[in-house]
Symmetry: C2
Subunit: 214 residues, 2 copies
DNA sequence: TCCTGTGAAAGCGTTCACAGCG
DNA sequence: CGCTGTGAACGCTTTCACAGGA
């Protein structure tokens, strides 16, 4: 397997790769075989030199005078992002938002399989959610399940008060990546732990500012 | 009212202001009266000069040798972001994710009031969701409700296929800001329309990359 | 002395013009 | 000729060291 530990890839480039990947998916379904950076620009709203630059961080995927072969580029991006294989994921905090994510079909479509959910509420344990019938278990089981299913990513959708404790448990289970929906800063105990934040109120605040200041 | 149309405020600064605001909220509840940029740094994980710089884009809020008065800074940020008043918001697309957001209490707490939800599914129309009993209406009502309640922000949680059509309707209703959860690029018809994207699969893709490449 | 405010420098990401090649 | 690949320039954001003031 190729080593993609390049030194200076902008975080924003990775985000855009994910978007190219989605668009290429659609092009494949439409039967399109070749696409230019200009066409990708139209489809994504990003500009063409940006797209070319992003791609060349990882190699030369295009053909000069022609463009990019859709399937080849799609596969290459999958390999780069590491999504050419299934990822088993767990979710902690089966409130409304957690339940919504357990039913979110795009995760499964993109190869993210939520293998189990966890909650402290006894009335939720044993229940199943989503079309995949994802079972809810007590937090004690996280370590066992994570080992058994090689889980590397966890989603936290607990209230803010519980999120740090949950993170501790998650790190105990050797899970490396956490997507945190709780609006609170988490402090990892291990250096390897990667935490990303999805902050819904912040999104609204940014929008409020834009409207107010325009 | 002061005019905050400053020329060169980084987008990232606005996001951080939202975070400072949240932390200041907590400090107020703890009865803390004064806070230094160093302490804010600990609480947010951002570094202290960054915090000072962010704040001085908008004025001088601190006292040298002392720090920032929590309540004063909190109020100032509210005014800057434009969240010193209630915002009426609508949500379009009452699927699982939409329903979860209709029940998301942090919106209401922060002054974002979802006034109504909209869907094309007749079986959903007339129902009410969330603790605030938010009613679901047909899309035809968007314009009327938006006018009546002075709605400036809409949240789109429809499937990708419907999102562009919904945006068109939203723009008809003179709504300026859209937070789009559908994983598709939307093309606004008006220059004033502001669109922000919350892309859950992209978050997972970024995490997959980080883990794979580490 | 302490902590904020800030200009200047460094660092980083994007844009551009064109070189390179089918 | 067309479209990719890319070094260099540009512009934006963060960092830093210290000036400024209670």
């Amino acid at each position: 397997m190729r080593n993609y530990k390049f030194p200076k890839i902008p975080e924003a480039t990775i985000k855009r790769l994910s978007i190219y990947h989605r668009v290429l998916n659609e092009l494949i379904h439409e039967g399109v075989e070749v696409v230019s950076s200009h066409r990708l620009s139209e489809l994504t709203g990003l500009n063409a030199p940006q797209i070319r630059k992003d791609l060349t961080y990882f190699g030369e995927f295009g053909v000069r005078g022609v463009g990019y072969f859709v399937i080849h580029l799609h596969d290459s991006i999958r390999e780069i992002l590491g999504i050419n294989k299934k990822w088993n994921v767990i979710l902690v905090g089966v409130g409304k938002l957690g339940q919504a994510l357990l039913s979110y079909e795009n995760f499964e479509k993109q190869g993210y399989h939520i293998i189990a959910a966890f909650d402290t509420d006894p009335s939720k344990i044993g229940k199943k959610f989503g079309t995949n019938e994802i079972p809810v278990m007590p937090l004690d089981n996280i370590k066992k399940i994570a080992k058994e299913y090689n889980v590397k990513i966890a989603i936290i959708t607990t209230p803010s008060e519980s999120a740090q404790i949950v993170l501790n448990v998650i790190e105990e289970a050797e899970i490396e990546g956490v997507i945190n929906f709780a609006p609170i800063k988490l402090t990892p105990n291990k250096k390897v732990t990667k935490i990303s934040y999805v902050d819904l109120v912040t999104e609204l605040d940014k929008m409020a500012f834009k409207i107010t200041s325009s």
